[in-house]
Amino acid sequence: MQISVMPKTNLTMSTRTNYSIQQTPHFQILSDNQKERIYNGMLRTLQYTGANVHHEGARELFKKAGCKVDGIKVFFPSEVITNALATVPPVTEVFPWNGDESKKITIEKDRSYFGPGPTPPNFIDPDTLERRPYIRKDASTVARVCDALPNMGYVQSLGSISDVSNGLADVYEFADMVRNTTTPIMSWSFTRNGCRDIHRMAIAMAGGEEEFRHRPNYIFYGEPISPLVSDFHAIDKCMYCAENRIPQVYSPCAIGGGTVPATHAGQLVVALSESMVGVIASQLISPGTSVIIGGVQSILDMRNSIYSYGAPELSLLSAAHTEVVHYCGLPMYSQSGCTDTKKMDIQSAMEAALSINAAMMSGANFVHDNGYTESGMTGDIFQAVMADELIGMARIIEAGIEVNEETLAVDVIKNVGSGGHYLYEDHTMKWFRKHWQPTLMDRNSYESWQEKGQKTMKDRIIEKTRNLIDNYEGPNNEVPENADQEIEKILQEAEVRIKNDPES
């Protein structure tokens, strides 16, 4: 069966906002004064409370830069922080490995990219719709489906592979995903060794180390620990990325009322402080290397003790965080399209719709977790497919309204006058295609809906998703043979590494 895939275009992937003819309708949560106070809260925290850094090399680095180090605790004077912020690049580009310009990512203030999320242990089986452990073949499924979805600007796996050698889920995931999508991947790893393996694969895909430096083709994702801890591996991986000029995210999963204060302002102070440790490390090692912060910001549900991925606070916190992160001059890693439900249902759609629109209107740059269900415990490709449609709708709102002579159409209005219609007008011909067209939403008349099988949204999501899984091939056959062989070799070497040292 032939299947047509909507191309990723500048409109679907990212909108260059705020240009003169068009005002982007972003909302604002915080006043300038509030942003400044949260920012200063971060400066006060890092200077007087400090953060634990479980990495001798990193502590040395901070000490040399003028930080006070007491045991594992590091206190950061504000000039160390402002110096680091000053060297974060305003713009960095990430290139699809096949050179497809339409999928290029520009990490820059006014652009936004949505994508799935990393590493839940479970996956909704595409055939049975039941929850089961995430397995190796799911990684390429997610990569392929997201490759085809017009609004997925970057890709994460929606799972952690359970059926490969313990400790190699990260490496296998990248190996399989990169060969099944040209949309840039956001990868993760357990340790520096995993980072290195992934990086070698990316270099193979880029066609060499020099080529990678000019045209990086993926982004790395790592996490500090709330409250105020950078564990050894987190900061070690951050340092590796900086050394190799790999664009990276360094952001916590802060749990409001649990690992950070229950007040949103307090949560943002702690979360910002934790991320800043990675920003400083990255810029000390390699000034001008790309770093993105933000992270999962939500609350602990105090009745069920779960970290809520559907809470309205998630959207509020993330939007406010976006403003503070932009205030620092950094790109923001936000989240949306996620839910606390266990099965595709009305709640999953409600929570996704609200959070996607909020993330879009907040102006966040990378928005992850589109496709997370069960509070981050289960990845769901169906949820991602649904989110793709919602992101498309939200983009239309975010694109705002163009107002100029042509769009005011006063002459056309005069032409048609009172009564009559616009259907024959050249002006209509020219403009109507800018209206958004659904791929999932039902706008049939009752009769044609009946004729077409009375499908519900759930039926249509399942149908579209399975259709992509079964029929969309993705770029697998375009992978250069030498890169393919190199990846297989790296996997074999990784097996040896993990066999010799399971902790490596």
Binding site: P121, P133, S160, S162, N166, G167, A169, F190, I225, D231, I255, G257, G258, T259, L300, M302, R303, N304, S305, M377, E503
Partner: protein, 215 residues
């Protein structure tokens, strides 16, 4: 002196730590039987907390505060209580397994056990297998709790249980495990005695377990 047990229960449900400590000290000083204080004042207070929690009238932080109050009162009472007085509420060793840095779920579980009168030794995150075994040998807990939030670190729990067997102390304690990816099936597979899907049910399940196994 007449001790107002209802007042003591209320201090527990309201989580008024200092006042409860005062009242407990006073009660002991004036010769109240510790076991009676426990059974008529403190435990009914915690039962009420459990009830309010199940009905959705109390939230986690409030429950934890009550648990803290209970635990502080128990610190005062414990030296005066015999093993029999304490019922199943004894000692617990608790930690997150090696390679795992997830903290908060384990802490919640620990606080709930404290609330049930347990003396909880929280050995922290990223604890190597030997740390669990050594703590078990040293402290002779009634319950050993392990937490894992990563599918990659869950196997450590089975390894700890095996080490406990090798050290010949496996049967001296109940092993309870938890953490978001952990399941009842996994607990059965590795030979843990108990699995709890959340901190609230953990204490309840443990009580039931001891009630069945000690009778």
């Amino acid at each position: 002196m007449n001790i107002d047990f209802e007042r003591i229960s209320e201090l527990i449900t309201k989580g008024q730590i200092e006042q409860l400590q005062e009242q407990t000290n006073q009660a002991i000083e004036t010769g109240t039987e510790p076991a009676i204080l426990l059974n008529k004042g403190l435990l009914p207070g915690m039962d009420k907390v459990g009830q309010l929690w199940r009905n959705g009238d109390m939230f986690m932080p409030e429950v934890l505060r009550s648990a803290k109050a209970m635990s502080k009162a128990m610190d005062i009472l414990r030296p005066h209580l015999s093993k029999d007085d304490m019922g199943s509420a004894g000692k617990m060793v608790l930690g997150t397994v090696a390679g795992d840095l997830h903290d908060i779920g384990k802490d919640l579980a620990g606080m709930m056990f404290e609330g049930a009168g347990y003396e909880v030794l929280n050995i922290g995150i990223d604890q190597p297998n030997e740390a669990f075994v050594n703590a078990a040998i040293e402290h002779k807990p009634d319950v050993l709790g392990m937490s894992a939030l990563l599918t990659t670190t869950m196997p450590r729990m089975g390894e700890v249980i095996n080490s406990l067997k090798e050290s010949g102390i496996r049967d001296e304690m109940a092993v309870i495990i938890g953490g978001a990816p952990v399941t009842k099936e996994f607990a059965d597979e590795i030979g843990a005695d108990l699995y709890a899907p959340n901190a609230g049910s953990a204490v309840e399940l443990t009580k039931q377990y001891f009630a069945q196994n000690n009778s």
